[in-house]
């Protein structure tokens, strides 16, 4: 840091040009990254009468509800579907991941790492390779076309990554804590419940946000496991809205904003944990 400040007086002109270039690039990147969001918000607020492709970049004449009222009316049932899917799926997959991660890091048995790696591959597969049998399986157990069916998919296919994240987290928790509790006569599950769970609140926040975002943003399971449009999650409803010729363009843009809102709010208010989840979920190399 000190050395970097020392270089500034040495080459004042070059560094000033460098500084201007740096900011030029950063401002252009800033505008580029916000451009699609600007397009969605600005056009979402336009009234159906004023929305046209040629005025796509201009502000709405007057800020009113624009397409939001109609988009909210159309997407609200699907937003509810997404909510009743994402909340239980996130909680269950995080909790099971915590138990698995604890066992795999603190109570290793021979072959545990190999079994875990085989399990972890399940996170990376293209789900197209399991969809046909999955649909048949869900039909057999009468969960096809239902939100509980979707929850089951997200829990099972979410297990590898939640287990990985908790396994890495618990690996950093001192084993002495377990040994001390073991001396007091506590069993494996008692230690998990009484010692490890209270310690893992930060990990639960990180994993919970990671799973919430992943599950909310899912498209493939929603569109294949639930064929009835009224029961589908909001990502599929938004795609249907976007492909429909009878819906005005401002409504689609408003709908995109609405569908993006939950994960966007999580990102804005809990961004710190979101980034930690990214780094933890990317499998250390």
């Amino acid at each position: 840091m000190v050395a970097r400040q020392n270089t500034i007086p040495r080459k004042p002109v070059a560094s000033r040009i460098g500084h201007i270039l740096l900011w030029l690039v950063l401002i252009l990147a800033f505008l580029f990254y916000l451009m699609p969001i600007y397009v969605m918000v600005v056009n979402g607020f336009k009234e159906a009468a004023n929305v046209s492709l040629s005025t796509m970049w201009s502000f709405p004449d007057n800020i009113q509800s624009g397409g939001f009222a109609e988009a909210a009316r159309k997407l609200w049932p699907n937003m509810q579907n997404s909510l009743i899917m994402v909340i239980p799926a996130t909680i269950i997959s995080s909790f099971l991941g915590a138990l698995n991660g604890y066992l795999l890091s603190k109570w290793k048995f021979p072959g545990a790492d190999v079994l875990f790696t085989i399990m972890l591959f399940g996170f990376f597969i293209p789900y197209q390779a399991v969809l046909l049998p999955l649909v048949r399986f869900l039909q057999t157990i009468h969960l096809y076309g239902t939100i509980p069916g979707l929850i089951l998919c997200h829990v099972v296919y979410g297990l590898p990554i939640t287990t990985l994240m908790f396994r890495n987290y618990f690996a950093g928790v001192p084993t002495e804590l377990i040994e001390a509790a073991g001396v007091d006569g506590a069993g494996m599950l008692t230690i998990f419940w009484k010692v490890m769970l209270p310690l893992s609140v930060p990990a639960f926040i990180v994993v919970g946000i990671f799973q919430f975002t992943n599950i909310w943003n899912d498209f493939l399971f929603g569109v294949t496991v639930v064929p009835n449009p009224a029961s589908q999650p909001v990502t599929i409803a938004l795609n249907n809205l976007s492909g429909s010729f009878s819906v005005d363009w401002n409504v689609v843009m408003a709908g995109a904003v609405i569908a993006a809102l939950p994960t966007a709010l999580v990102y804005i208010f809990l961004g710190r944990y979101f980034v930690r989840g990214l780094l933890a979920g990317s499998v250390k190399g």
Partner: protein, 348 residues
């Protein structure tokens, strides 16, 4: 890490170490295994069981809504049919082109942004948060937004007029910049003839191999969403490199640029490898974004294997062909991911 080391040294320092629990190890290992068993069984069925079933369908005669589980002769006939299909050939071409553009842009832009933000900057945190923001959104939202930005009658093409690029071009006598983007069926750099020289079977290809220009806007949209993730991973990696390393390089007379070029970027190689693997596997599986943004495109110019499998499976009900496509995708992902997973297992 540091806490556990601390506890360890404290323990070594104390002369009286607590006696180890007397319960037999075997039963503890067995108990741990039994508690994990439900998760292993669930993964076993939902991943490996279902994959096996899909492999079987990919070898079967099941090609309509009527279930036919008899094996088709010869054994790999569905795969032969698949690779003879012009649409599938176009999909493979599109995946290669998409991967090159998407990985090139995401890695380049992500690393560039990480380096630019790697200094004390006014509003540095705000910028970093803005660049990562698209990653929190779904591919569907991303596809819906970019579909309008790359609409030939709107979006960036209007921006070319507004920003004075087209008036400027008109002034020097060049036609206006009005690309058709994802509606443009053009294939650039056609390579079929060249390919046929080194690989005679290429003469039988049903589609033009080259660069479908319609794939470029899709790669830009995907990079918009994932380059922030690349940036965040590089920033995370740079944070683990001690300041002394930079100091040492500067004392040796390295310029700021050389510090990155010769010292930091090579030290970030493990991050680059992880990112390359993750981005490559994303691009082999890419589905929602393309499906909502452009669909299959003109002459399948933006079709990808995932869309092919999805449509064959749930619209055309060609189950054996769809399964063959899905298994090919799985093999492609496996080739990328399995070495990566086994190497991180070996490292522990």
């Amino acid at each position: 890490m540091s806490t556990s080391e601390l506890v360890k040294t404290q323990k070594d320092a104390s002369t009286v170490s607590p006696p180890r629990s007397k319960r037999p190890w075997l039963s503890e290992r067995l108990q741990s295994f039994l508690l994990l068993l439900p998760s292993f069984i669930a993964t076993g069925i939902f991943v490996y069981g279902f994959i096996s079933f899909t492999i079987y369908i990919s070898l079967s005669n099941w090609r309509t809504l009527v279930r036919d589980m008899s094996l088709r002769q010869p054994l790999l006939a569905n795969y032969a049919d698949l690779f003879a299909m012009p649409r599938w050939q176009a999909d493979l071409r599109n995946t290669v082109v998409f991967t090159i553009f998407f990985m090139g842009i995401s890695l380049g832009v992500g690393l560039g942004l990480a380096i630019l933000l790697d200094r004390k900057l006014f509003a540095g945190t705000v910028l970093r948060n803005v660049f990562l923001f698209p990653y929190a959104l779904s591919f569907v939202v991303c596809g819906v937004a970019w579909r309008w930005i790359f609409n030939p009658e709107a979006g960036v093409n209007i921006l070319f007029n507004l920003l004075g690029i087209n008036p400027l071009l008109a002034a020097v006598g060049v036609g206006p910049l009005q690309p058709g983007w994802a509606t443009d069926p053009t294939i650039l750099l056609k390579v079929n003839d060249a390919l046929a020289l080194i690989w005679p079977a290429a003469g039988k290809l049903q589609v033009q191999f080259g660069v479908p220009v319609a794939m470029i806007p899709v790669a830009i949209a995907a990079s918009w969403q994932l380059s922030g993730f690349v940036m965040a991973m590089y920033i995370g990696g740079m944070a683990t490199i001690p300041e002394e390393v930079r100091e040492a390089a500067r004392i040796d007379g390295a310029t700021e640029w050389q510090v990155y070029r010769r010292v930091l970027i090579p030290m970030l190689a493990p991050v680059t490898i992880s990112l390359a693997v993750l981005l490559l596997h994303t691009s082999l599986k890419i589905f929602d974004l393309v499906y909502t943004m452009t669909g299959t495109g003109p002459g399948f110019a933006t079709d990808v294997p995932a869309i092919f499998v999805f449509e064959m499976m749930f619209k055309a009900t060609r189950y054996n062909l769809a399964s063959a496509g899905a298994i090919f995708m799985l093999i492609a992902v496996g080739v990328v991911i399995i070495p990566y997973l086994t190497s991180s297992l070996r490292k522990g």
